[in-house]
């Protein structure tokens, strides 16, 4: 059985930053990624990031991916296992892996779970027709594989992902017939909404998909308006043609491993569903298990990166490692994390986090 100081599960923005922070502290890090390359969702994020310079604001996700990947490669004490999926986490701290088809066991001193999230789905008639995709899949087809996924799309969901993927579809030469959202107002950043609005894409709020149509594949959908109690308004149905329906209605934390090992979980809708309780060092109810990124609550990638750094530092500190200015560096990350959530768009995140934080503002 392999031993390591810190196993980091997930090579997205949170896991990459956690690995770098832990490696700086001198920890022996094993970074485990189920895909063949590191980066998680960054590999297809061709848009510029928000935030400040410390979180690579104005830099495109694909470029942040390269920066973090290069940084990881600088450390001899980071071992990267790609094509490797963690199958289970057990009470004795052992994790089991499918490593390129071979079964492996590992006993890390600390585990940082940074598994990210999966896309939510919607129930409606004929939702199994070919041509109905999650927005993430469409973004992968376009931006990773260079495949034009459709000719005309209706996007369901006006959150940041729905708005950004709509814009990128337009960049790929796909027409976006409409962006619909059941909520009465746009969930994503308004600047993203304005970006697609000025390309002539109608954004229809209080509108949802009632059914999809088509025989071999989708050819259109029926939409319906919703009243202020989210009930369908009779007679408000309308037809929208499309050969691709893109579903972007939010993300759910990928928390199965945390459930397996017995972390305390709480249901917090504003964080995306069940999330682990944790202290402000990202330590869960189990001393050896830390979390970072979307698995701990759905947020922007900038927050995921900062959380990764905090978890990497604190997990390393808990096994007796340290570095110059440790306290100062940690305090800076915690301040970055707070400042990203301080504004009105962070209201729901702050309220959600208040429900899952163990011990309030511990040191």
């Amino acid at each position: 059985m392999k031993r390591t100081d810190i196993a980091i599960i997930g090579g997205g923005p949170a896991g990459l930053c956690a690995s770098i922070a832990a490696a700086k502290m001198g920890a022996k890090v094993t970074l485990i990624e189920r895909n063949s390359t590191l980066g998680g969702q960054l590999v297809k994020q061709t848009h510029m990031f928000f935030g400040s310079q410390k979180q690579y604001a104005s830099t495109r996700g694909i470029d942040i991916c390269k920066i973090l990947d290069n940084e990881v490669n600088k450390y001899d004490n980071i071992e990267v296992l790609t094509n490797t999926t963690v199958l289970g986490m057990y009470e004795d701290g052992v994790i089991t892996l499918d490593c390129n088809g071979s079964y492996k066991k590992m006993l890390p001193s600390r585990i940082i779970v940074a598994t990210g999230a999966s896309e939510k789905y919607l129930p409606f008639a004929n939702n199994d027709l070919p041509g109905i995709y999650g927005a993430g899949a469409v973004q992968t087809l376009m931006n990773v594989y260079g495949v034009k996924p459709a000719d005309s799309v209706v996007m369901v969901g006006a959150g940041n992902i729905g708005l950004i993927v709509s814009y990128q579809l337009m960049q790929a030469g796909v027409s976006v017939n409409a962006i619909i959202d059941a909520a009465p107002s746009i969930g994503g950043y308004l600047v993203h909404a304005s970006k697609v609005a000025r390309l002539g894409v109608p954004i229809l709020t209080s509108t949802t998909v009632k059914s999809a149509h088509g025989k071999e594949y989708i050819t259109g959908i029926t939409t319906v308006k919703l009243d202020d109690k989210w009930q369908e308004i009779e007679g408000s149905e309308s037809y929208l043609p499309c050969d691709n329906l893109c579903i972007s209605v939010g993300l759910s934390p990928l928390a199965e491993l945390l459930w397996q090992i017995g972390c305390e979980m709480k249901y917090v809708p504003t964080l995306g569903g069940f999330v682990p309780t944790r202290d402000n060092h990202l330590k869960t109810s189990i001393d050896s298990v830390y979390v970072a990124g979307d698995v701990a609550g759905i947020e922007e990638a900038s927050s995921a990166m900062v959380e990764g750094s905090i978890a990497g530092l604190c997990a390393s500190r808990s096994i007796g490692l340290t570095m110059t200015d440790y306290d100062k560096v940690l305090a800076d990350y915690i301040e970055q994390s707070n400042s990203l959530r301080r504004g009105p768009v962070g209201d729901k995140i702050r309220q959600g986090l208040a429900q899952v934080e163990i011990g309030g503002q511990t040191k």
Binding site: S58, Y189, K195, G200, G343, P344
Partner: protein
């Protein structure tokens, strides 16, 4: 309402419109960011410190229009692509709008495009006078678009297709489209008469009253020869189409 359709209201636009006095002095940045979000590259990228310091990263951007010289560095740094530069001193009745444009194909200098508003609706024809696309812009090219001055705070995007697309009719009598006309001009038919002879445009019922000016303008656009310098076609009777038999009549009025 912007929360419902992504389009800023007139009230919001008014709140960020530089004063008429400032606009009359030259280029200035217009930041169309109407929501407090954690983001600050507009402030950090400004070489002149014309953006009010964002003490909290969630503060809203504010341009000091006395310091801003409209250089446009912030345009490509804004992750929300929400910054534009307007210059109402560009020409007597024209203004220049610098806008981010992340689509291919990029328009070329000299191209006419359809200038659109915040909802993507066509406003007017615009002329691309410059395309700035260096490593500094990091794949967010900046288009310099010239439109009539009254649209400086209205035009915010462009459609690379000219407001007159290839299927637009130039001569309805003889069914000549703009696309066909452009093709002939590119082939070397660069005078009104040459176009008339190859396409019959001008030989129909209206005798060129619809198409003549349009053809001359298009020749001017593609060859650079202004209408006043082009060869005018030869005018011969009759000024309207008449049947041959008409001329076979004898004028019996022998005064």
């Amino acid at each position: 309402m912007i929360q419902k359709d992504g389009i800023a209201t007139q009230e919001m636009i008014d709140s960020i419109t530089p004063s008429a006095e400032r606009r009359s002095k030259g280029p200035v940045a217009v930041v169309e960011c109407f929501q407090s979000i954690p983001c600050n590259p507009c402030y950090t990228s400004c070489p002149r410190k014309a953006m009010k310091e964002l003490i909290d990263i969630n503060d809203m951007p504010q341009v000091n229009t006395d310091i801003c010289n409209g250089c446009g560095v912030c345009i490509s740094h804004c992750p929300g692509l929400a910054i534009f530069v307007i210059d109402e001193t560009y020409g007597d009745n024209q203004c220049l709008i610098k806008m981010p444009y992340e689509f291919t194909p990029l328009p070329s200098e000299g191209d006419y495009v359809t200038a659109t508003d915040r909802g993507g609706k066509p406003v007017c024809r615009g002329k691309v006078v410059k395309v700035v696309n260096t490593p500094m812009q990091d794949r967010t090219p900046i288009i310099h678009l010239v439109v009539p001055k009254e649209f400086s705070m209205i035009v915010r995007s462009l459609n690379i297709n000219d407001i007159y697309d290839d299927n637009t009719y130039i001569c309805r009598c003889e069914e000549l489209t703009l696309g066909e006309l452009r093709e002939y001009i590119r082939k070397g038919y660069t005078t009104l008469d040459e176009i008339k002879r190859i396409t019959r445009a001008g030989m129909g019922p209206c005798q060129g009253r619809t198409c003549r000016q349009l053809i001359m303008n298009e020749i001017a656009k593609l060859t650079g020869v202004k209408p006043q310098d082009q060869l005018m076609s030869t005018f011969r009777p009759p000024v309207k189409p008449v049947k041959l038999g008409f001329y076979a009549q004898e004028d019996t009025d022998n005064e």
